[in-house]
Structures are given as structure tokens and as C-alpha cells.
């Protein structure tokens, strides 16, 4: 018994020691031996992956450090990954600043891993230049937590060659704009007849099915949730509009047969299908379309048009990307990050350094065979100097036929809507299931599915 107590005592002592050791582990130092403020920046590409981008970044950092001798920048290849994020955040091993997509911003605020940057956001002039809809996304309780870097708005990405074969590209290269979902289906059917390739594809797994289905549903008039007077949220998508939207997706497979055979489709598979010309159309935005080039797409082989309209409206999901500053960052580090962000072109006042950064950004996009000239919504107001300059420079460096993208660039007649205000990921999980069901079960009952999905969302996540 005594022996057992001894062993137990030792084990507990070790547990406590280990807990303390792990708890105190690996917080990065905020200053170096020379007293400079050290910041680590995430999302740096390695030399092997993109030599030109790497070279540009090294040059940019050298120029920044020369202009700011009290700041030292460390490059970090960390890229946001849902599987490792929380572990790295808890262990204090995240870089000082790193990029996250909009879809994760609410979770990150909930988890408390983003620093309050309100003071610096105002001090560096960002506050006066940021668009109101973005400000809403990056704030909570009047505090600001994210630095917006980009915006996206969804459109209909098209494979120019397949559309051309089916007669849907004008002589000047302008792809046909399907005005409605029905017209898009008509095009997809003809494309399949003429080319033998599938006309349309939707992702359906990893919450991407729900994410992509949301704007389709909005265009049918679906309202997913409402907040009542008591502040409680109610799921409101057990509706005829939802049934119609699901029926539309179901018909893509069973009535029109314009989807690939595989209906458990990951987002990466869409990049491949579009990049290799196996599918003619999908919903997309510039950061996704960029990935098609990994599979051989050239800037001129892809076009983008406006979202087709549903019975209720023409609506595009909009979102963005943000840089997060680590919650453990010191005020000096936060200020240093703002200086860096401003220097690299994410600021609001145009300087020679920013011009140089934008020029390097364009070089990098060219090197990676990515489209230049696609105009997305901007986090910044129209009169923001940097925004205007970037748009002009991109237009000057066009690497494609502008007609391939001009219908998308003309934003008229499109309503933009941000993702649902709460539990968006949970909603996407449930919608993934609905989309999968209608695409794998010919006899799926859309009304029953809508009813169950709304009830599940209410009881599992809103109550």
C-alpha cells in the first residue's frame, strides 16, 4: 500500500510538473538581443514552392527593416489549418500575424485568440477607410479584432474553351451570362451534349456544400434564421423557398444530369475539374479560381460572370480574408504589425513602398499564372488611395482577355450578402447533408429534408 502511495505521489508530482512545464512552454520572445521588436509573419511561401514570391518577400522585409531599424521580422510558413490551429494557439506557437478566411473569424473571436487592435486600427487610418460591412464583420462589442486584407464576392466561374465549343462565347471573348438558374441549366445541358463534359459542379463535403448552397437558397428567397424580440434565434428555413432550392439542386442531377458522377465532392476536386477542363461551370470567387492554375488552368482559359438569379433575387455571397494578430502580442508588436501591413500594401495611404509592394504582388500573381484584372469587392472605401492604385495597376497588367471577366466586374444588379450571422459552420454541416441527400437519393423528399434540417439546426445549435 505504501509503495502504491509513493508511486501515486510521484505520478501526481510529475503530472503537475509536466502541466506547468507545458503551460509555460514556447512563448515567443517579443524582443531580440538588440532590443528590436520581433514579429513573426505567417503564410510565407518557401523558396522551393515559389522562388519569385520568396525573393520578393525577402526584398520587402529587408527594405522594411531598413526603414524601421527597431523592428525585426521573422518569416513563418504557418498557414491557417483548422486541425492544428487551436493546438498552436494554446501552445503559443502561432506567428504574431497570420491570415484567416472570413468563415473562421467568428470562431477565433469566440476562442479569444485575436488581439484587440481597435487603438491601432484608428491610429493608422484604417478605421476611416474601411467599408461598413467589413467593419461589422471584424468587430464585436465595439472592439476590432481583424485587419481586412481582401474581399471576395461569388460569381459563376466558366471554362472558356468548353463554353466556346457549345457556342456560348461571343466573338470578342465575352462568355454568355446566364440570367437565371434555369438558363444556366440550359447552357450546361447543351455543353454536355456538345463536348461530353459535365456542365456544372458543386462541392458537397467539408461544409463547402452548405457554403455554396447558401447563395442559391437566398436567390430562391430562403431566410435561414431570424432573431426574435428576446434576442433568441429561430431557424426559419422550413419553407417552400427552401424546398424549391433543394429541388433545383436535385434536378441538376436527376432531371438534367449535368453533374459529375461523383457527388461527394471536395473543394480541391473542383479546382482539379475546372483546371483540367473536365467541367464547364461552378460557383467561384477569385481566391478559389486562383487554385485552378495549380491544375494547369491559364488566366485566359477561365472566365467569370455574375451569379445567375433565382426566383427571388440575384445574390452573391461575399466574404473576405483577414490578418489576425496573436492575442499574446505586446502593444509594440501590434504597432510593428500595423507598420508592416501598411508597408506591404495593406494600408490606406499610398507611399512609394506600397507601390513597390503592389508591383511585386503583381509579379507574383503572374509567376503563379493567376488572373489579373478580376475586380472583387474591396474592404476599403472607393476613395481609398491604395485601393484605387491597386485596381489601376492590375488593369494595366492584364494577363487575359478582359471580356472574359467584364460581366463579373460590372457589379450592377447583384445583391451582396455576408454569411449567416451565427453558427454558420453548423448550418453548413446540416446543409451539406441536405445537398448530399438530394444528389444521392433519387427519391429524396425535399420538404421532409427542409423540415428536418430546420428542426435539427434549431434544437442542436440555436436552443
Amino acid at each position: 500500500m505504501k509503495k502504491f502511495k509513493k508511486i501515486l505521489g510521484m505520478t501526481l508530482a510529475l503530472t503537475i510538473a509536466a502541466s506547468l512545464a507545458t503551460g509555460c512552454a514556447s512563448k515567443k520572445s517579443a524582443t531580440d538581443a538588440e532590443g528590436r521588436t520581433v514579429i513573426s509573419i505567417g503564410d510565407c511561401l518557401s523558396k522551393e514552392i515559389s522562388p519569385k514570391a520568396y525573393e520578393n518577400l525577402v526584398d520587402q522585409i529587408a527594405r522594411f527593416e531598413e526603414a524601421n531599424p527597431d523592428i525585426k521580422i521573422e518569416m513563418d510558413t504557418y498557414t491557417y489549418n483548422v486541425q492544428t490551429y487551436a493546438a498552436k494557439a494554446e501552445a503559443g506557437t502561432l506567428p504574431t500575424v497570420y491570415y484567416v478566411p472570413l468563415t473562421e473569424s467568428k470562431n477565433i473571436m469566440d476562442m479569444g485568440y485575436a488581439a484587440d487592435i481597435t487603438e491601432y486600427f484608428k491610429k493608422f487610418g484604417f478605421y476611416d477607410n474601411v467599408n461598413d460591412f467589413i467593419l461589422e464583420q471584424i468587430s464585436r462589442d465595439e472592439k476590432i479584432y481583424f485587419l481586412p486584407t481582401s474581399c471576395y464576392d461569388m460569381g459563376l466561374a466558366v471554362n472558356i474553351d468548353l463554353l466556346k465549343q457549345a457556342g456560348y462565347v461571343a466573338e470578342d471573348g465575352t462568355p454568355h451570362q446566364p440570367e437565371t438558374w434555369d438558363e444556366m441549366v440550359e447552357m450546361a445541358v447543351k455543353i454536355k451534349e456538345v463536348t461530353g463534359k459535365n456542365g456544372f459542379v458543386l462541392p458537397t463535403t467539408d461544409n463547402c456544400g452548405g457554403w455554396r448552397f447558401t447563395p442559391i437558397a437566398w436567390s430562391y428567397g430562403v431566410e435561414f434564421m431570424k432573431q426574435d424580440a428576446d434576442g433568441k434565434w429561430k431557424a426559419t428555413f422550413d419553407s417552400q423557398e427552401m424546398v424549391d432550392a433543394l429541388q433545383f439542386v436535385k434536378d441538376l442531377k436527376w432531371k438534367y444530369d449535368i453533374l459529375p458522377e461523383n457527388t461527394l465532392v471536395k473543394l480541391e476536386e473542383i479546382w482539379q475539374l475546372m483546371g483540367t477542363g473536365e467541367v464547364a461551370m461552378t460557383l467561384g470567387e477569385i481566391n478559389q479560381i486562383d487554385c485552378y492554375s495549380n491544375y494547369g488552368a491559364t488566366p485566359d482559359s477561365i472566365g467569370i460572370v455574375k451569379m445567375p438569379a433565382g426566383p427571388a433575387k440575384r445574390v452573391a455571397l461575399m466574404g473576405g480574408g483577414y490578418d489576425v494578430i496573436n492575442a499574446n502580442a505586446t502593444p509594440e508588436q501590434i504597432e510593428a504589425v500595423f507598420k508592416w501591413e501598411t508597408f506591404k500594401g495593406n494600408g490606406v495611404t499610398l507611399t512609394e513602398d506600397i507601390k513597390k509592394s503592389i508591383s511585386q504582388e503583381i509579379e507574383t500573381r503572374k509567376e503563379k499564372n493567376r488572373m489579373l484584372g478580376v475586380e472583387t469587392l474591396s474592404p476599403w472605401k472607393e476613395d481609398c488611395e491604395v485601393r484605387k492604385y491597386r485596381t489601376e495597376e492590375y488593369a494595366k497588367n492584364l494577363n487575359l482577355n478582359i471580356n472574359h471577366i467584364k460581366l463579373y466586374n460590372d457589379k450592377s444588379g447583384v445583391e451582396y450578402q455576408a454569411e449567416e450571422p451565427i453558427e454558420a459552420q453548423a448550418l453548413y454541416t446540416i446543409l451539406d447533408g441536405c445537398v448530399q441527400e438530394v444528389l444521392t437519393n433519387k427519391n429524396a423528399d425535399c420538404a421532409e429534408l427542409a423540415k428536418k434540417a430546420a428542426a435539427d439546426f434549431q434544437s442542436n445549435y440555436l436552443d
Binding site: A89, E261, T263, N460
Partner: protein, 297 residues
């Protein structure tokens, strides 16, 4: 007294030093996260930091979730199919290896090869074998016989079965080798006696091999239950739990609660529940193991 104790410590110091790295490893890697996970499952979580006592809230949310029962049933289906397919196949392979007079070593290597592949690679390999259009390997074979392509993983009635087949392919080699080595240990006189009594091949398996191996078979059944009950990687890679939750498992749901839906409290609570269920099997396993070691089984 003190001198005696000092002497004992000095005497055992080498043993303690030898034990120390393992002990530290057990504490750090096994004990600490388990104890911490159980405690945190009763807490409100902000990210992965506890933020106040929540009582049984997380457990109630998990159990009352409309996806809990279907997911638990699915997980049991994985276990069921893995016992139906995953147990007999390695046993048959082991018998074949045991009966072989030639190429025994080569066969062993061949059988073991799939086991050295990482689970993610196996899932990807089978994902493409099951690919639902004409480019999928299995559909290519079907087309040779004039049969239309089949939507393998998308047939929600059998998605779990198909995933279990891929898991069996991956794991059967190592299990077969265990069975094979157990068969090698069976006293050959028993077979000779059975032969003299006129027992045929199948009869010998029935009256000699199976009874002699009943202990190890029971142990492997329990191990199989424990390991398959935790399955996550394969459905995550092959179907993401779809179509419409048809292949969702408690393990994958746990991952989603923890890393996708930002509900770490629920992930921890569900993890503790799985731990408790599997503790029962672990208890049975150790009891059975003890009996086998004592020669009672």
C-alpha cells in the same frame, strides 16, 4: 531508518532511472490529457481554455443532439461489419499460410504489405477504387462484364460496409500474422490425433484450430471493437461522414465538434462518453487476457 531508506533508494536508483523516461512519457502523453479532458468536459470552454464550471451541460447537449443516436448506431454498424468481415478474413489467410508448404515467407510479406501503408494513403487509394464514374477501378472491372457503373460510397445503405472493407484490407495482414503465429504454437500431435480419427481439413480446423485459438480470437474481437469504435480517419478521408451522415462516426463527430464547429466542450464530453463505453471492453479484455495467461481459456 533513514540510512536504510537511503540504501534502498541507492540500490534501486538504476531501476528508477530506467523507468523514469517511460513514466514521464505516460504522464505527459496519456495521463495528463485524459485527466484534463475529463475535468474540462464539465467546463464552459473558450477555445481550448476552460472558462467556468458548466456541470453536465456539455453531456446534455451531446446526448440530446439529434445526430447523437444515429451516429452511435452508425459506429456500432462499423463495429458489426468489422467483426463480420474483419475477423474471418485474417483467420482464413492465417490458415492458408499455415497450410502452405512453399512460398510461405513470400506470402507473409505480401499479406503484410498493406499494413505498412498509412491510413490516409489507404483511404485515398480506396476512394479512387470506389470512384463512382468509369474511371474508378471497381467500375472498370464491372464494365469488363458489361455492368453499369455503380455509385459505391454514395449508396448510403452500404457506405459503412465499403469503408470497413478498405479498413479490413489495410489491417488484415498484421492480424493474420498474429493468428498465424498462434497456429504455429498449436501442438502438432493434436492434428495427428485428429487425422488418425479420420478428421478432414475443415473438421481439423473445427476441432483443433479454433478451440486452441479461442483465447487469442476473443482478445482480438475485443481489440477490434475498441479500435473500430474510435474510427475517424477513414470516413473523414473517404466520405466526410456522408452521404447525409450515413457514415458518420462518434470519432469523426468528435473531431467536428472540436475543430470545425468550435464546440470543444461537447467534443470533450463525447470523448469521455466514448472512453467510458470502451473502458467496459478494456476491462473485459484484461479479464480475458488474465484468464488466457492462466490457461483457463
Amino acid at each position: 531508518m533513514n540510512n536504510k531508506r537511503t540504501f534502498r533508494i541507492k540500490k534501486d536508483i538504476a531501476a528508477w532511472l530506467l523507468i523514469l523516461p517511460t513514466l514521464v512519457g505516460i504522464v505527459l502523453i496519456l495521463l495528463r490529457p485524459q485527466v484534463q479532458g475529463i475535468i474540462w468536459s464539465f467546463c464552459n470552454m473558450q477555445g481550448f481554455t476552460p472558462n467556468g464550471f458548466a456541470g453536465l451541460d456539455n453531456y446534455v447537449k451531446v446526448i440530446t443532439s439529434t445526430s447523437f443516436v444515429p451516429t452511435l448506431v452508425n459506429t456500432c454498424k462499423y463495429v458489426f461489419w468489422s467483426l463480420i468481415i474483419g475477423m474471418p478474413i485474417p483467420f482464413v489467410i492465417a490458415i492458408v499460410m499455415n497450410e502452405l508448404l512453399f512460398f510461405r515467407k513470400t506470402t507473409r510479406v505480401m499479406v503484410y504489405l498493406p499494413s505498412i501503408m498509412p491510413a490516409a494513403a489507404v483511404s485515398l487509394l480506396w476512394y479512387f477504387m470506389y470512384y463512382p464514374d468509369a474511371s474508378g477501378l471497381l467500375n472498370m472491372i464491372l464494365s469488363q462484364f458489361g455492368i453499369d457503373s455503380y455509385n459505391w460510397l454514395q449508396d448510403s445503405r452500404f457506405t459503412i460496409l465499403y469503408i470497413v472493407i478498405s479498413m479490413t484490407w489495410s489491417g488484415m495482414g498484421s492480424t493474420a500474422l498474429y493468428y498465424f503465429s498462434a497456429m504455429q504454437g498449436i501442438n502438432s500431435e493434436l492434428y495427428e490425433a485428429a487425422l488418425i480419427d479420420g478428421a478432414g481439413f475443415l473438421q481439423r480446423i473445427k476441432v483443433v484450430t479454433i478451440p486452441q485459438m479461442s483465447g487469442i480470437l476473443i482478445l482480438f474481437i475485443i481489440r477490434q471493437i475498441i479500435s473500430v469504435f474510435n474510427v475517424m480517419e477513414q470516413p473523414m478521408q473517404m466520405t466526410d461522414g456522408g452521404p447525409n451522415g450515413a457514415s458518420m462516426t462518434l470519432g469523426l463527430m468528435n473531431y467536428k465538434y472540436g475543430f470545425v464547429l468550435n464546440k470543444p466542450g461537447m467534443a470533450l464530453a463525447q470523448g469521455v462518453m466514448m472512453f467510458l463505453i470502451l473502458s467496459v471492453f478494456a476491462f473485459i479484455y484484461f479479464k480475458a487476457n488474465k484468464k488466457i495467461e492462466e490457461g483457463q481459456m
